[in-house]
């Protein structure tokens, strides 16, 4: 497929690999789906393979697995307490999925699953869905007290409740847009600067010398993007934990 090699948007293009059409719906297996499968496969394989020794003294890989496991466990316990630990598999899945998907995006020619708003929004809706679903399941209608902060004078309570509801409804949006925008903007910036290197090199000797600047920028941005990839996975997971806390402890 021919395209302008410096086009920063091309990397987000979705292509059908196996077209699947059910009724009016297009459920084709795309490159996005392929990288979702790869994300899951690689993450699972890594977690499984590194723990194969079940070492009392962990190997390097096992340490990484154990660290991420205990890191997520502590994150959830700090945010939602012991009662929130029943969501540990859920939070760990989200953290690992987003982290590996983000890191996959750092490999050249790989598709970044989390750079598509629909994917992050679906994940965010899943989180909010679990919060609302578990909240009503566990506390019934009393769960709605989550929108009524204690210790607020009666006359401003309607206003506060309205603010709380709006803030709750904006959670899936902020949660998904934060991850999506970070990944998208980072990859575009990276591609733009890398594109400068190519365009300038085409201008002759002076251009090649001048292209050192965007090249250095690209290197620096690559490092930054690795940081962003890990950080955004952490932020997504930590916010998930805090939202789950509302499901477990609606009175705050």
């Amino acid at each position: 497929m021919e395209h302008d090699p410096t086009d920063p948007i091309h990397q987000f293009q979705i292509n059908r690999i196996v077209p699947i059409q059910i009724g009016d719906w297009d459920f084709s297996f795309t490159n996005s789906a392929l990288f979702m499968v790869l994300t899951v496969a690689v993450a699972t394989a890594f977690l499984y393979y590194t723990t194969r020794g079940r070492g009392l003294v962990p190997s390097r890989g096992q340490s990484i697995t154990e660290l991420s496991y205990e890191f997520t466990a502590n994150m959830l316990r700090d945010a939602a307490g012991t009662a929130g630990m029943k969501f540990f598999p859920f939070v760990f899945s989200i953290f690992m999925f987003v982290l590996v998907a983000n890191l996959f995006g750092m490999v050249p020619y790989f598709f970044t699953v989390t750079s598509h708003l629909i994917v992050t929004f679906a994940l965010a809706l899943l989180v909010i869905g679990v919060v609302v679903g578990y909240g009503f399941y566990k506390h019934g209608l009393k769960w709605l007290m989550v929108f009524v902060p204690s210790g607020v004078p009666g006359y401003i309570l309607p206003l506060v409740v309205a603010i709380e509801i709006v803030s709750f409804l904006s959670r899936p949006v902020s949660l998904s847009v934060r991850l999506f925008a970070n990944m998208l903007a980072g990859h575009i910036t990276l591609k733009v600067f890398a594109g400068f290197v190519v365009s300038m090199s085409a201008l002759g000797t002076l251009g090649v010398i001048g292209s050192i600047l965007p090249l250095l920028m690209t290197i620096a941005l690559t490092a930054l993007e690795f940081l962003v990839a890990a950080l955004q996975a952490y932020v997504f997971a930590v916010l998930t934990c805090m939202y789950l806390n509302d499901a477990v402890h609606p009175h705050h």
Binding site: M1, E2, H3, D4, D7, I9, H10, F12, Q13, I14, R16, P19, I20, Q21, D24, W25, D26, F27, S28, F29, T30, S32, A33, M36, V37, T39, V40, A43, T44, L47, Y48, T51, R54, G55, L56, P58, Q62, T65, E66, Y69, E70, F88, P89, F90, F92, S93, M96, F97, V113, S115, H116, L117, I118, V119, A122, L123, L126, F180, L184
Partner: protein
């Protein structure tokens, strides 16, 4: 919109959606310049939303299931195992330390007992040696006293006999002098009394 066109064309053709480049070509240069992604911004193109949601649901569902049933019990087991092992080792270390403490105490006790025993033996030996020395000294004292007594008795006896001989000599001398010088015949008894009187 692009999507509706794509679906519209899809209905006419063999069921495959036409590559975006075909559409772009149909629209001419202006669209082609933007690349082969059909002119839209891919993350906001709803064309692939159902597909992405479906595949995300499938992959994330499988991932969640795998982590929950296989991976996490595995990691949890490893960590649990390690915790147990550390607790067990600490317990064993504690037990060994108390054993060592006991051994130390027993050693100290044994040492004290041995020291006391040694002291007793030394004292006994000293006492018996002293007693032996005293006995020997007493025996020697008695022996020397006996010898001294015998010597004194002997001296007294010698002195007595010497004195007796002095008396006899004096009588003999007196007898001889009387006889030779004075030509007086005196009896032995007269001489003896005279000598004994002269002694005073």
């Amino acid at each position: 919109m692009f999507v509706t066109q794509a679906f519209a064309q899809d209905g006419e053709t063999t069921g495959h959606l036409p590559p975006a480049s075909d559409v772009a070509a149909a629209h001419g240069e202006t669209i082609h310049v933007e690349g082969d992604h059909g002119g839209g911004f891919p993350p906001f193109e709803p064309e692939f939303f159902p597909s992405q949601i479906l595949w995300l649901a499938i992959t994330f569902g499988v991932f969640y299931w795998l982590l929950k049933t296989v991976i996490m019990p595995r990691i949890g087991g490893i960590l649990e195992n390690r915790r147990d092992r550390i607790a067990l080792d600490l317990e064993a270390a504690e037990r060994m330390r108390s054993d060592a403490d006991e051994a130390q105490a027993a050693y100290e006790q044994e040492l004290t007992a041995a020291r006391n025993r040694a002291h007793t033996i030394a004292t006994d030996a000293k006492d018996s040696a002293k007693a032996d020395a005293d006995k020997e000294r007493k025996r020697l004292d008695a022996e020397l006293n006996d010898k001294l007594d015998a010597a004194q008795a002997r001296i007294a006896q010698v002195k007595t006999s010497a004195l007796a001989e002095v008396d006899q000599i004096a009588r003999d001398v007196t007898d001889t002098i009387l006889r030779q010088v004075a030509s007086i015949e005196a009896s032995q008894d007269e001489i003896a009394s005279a000598v004994s009187q002269a002694d005073r």
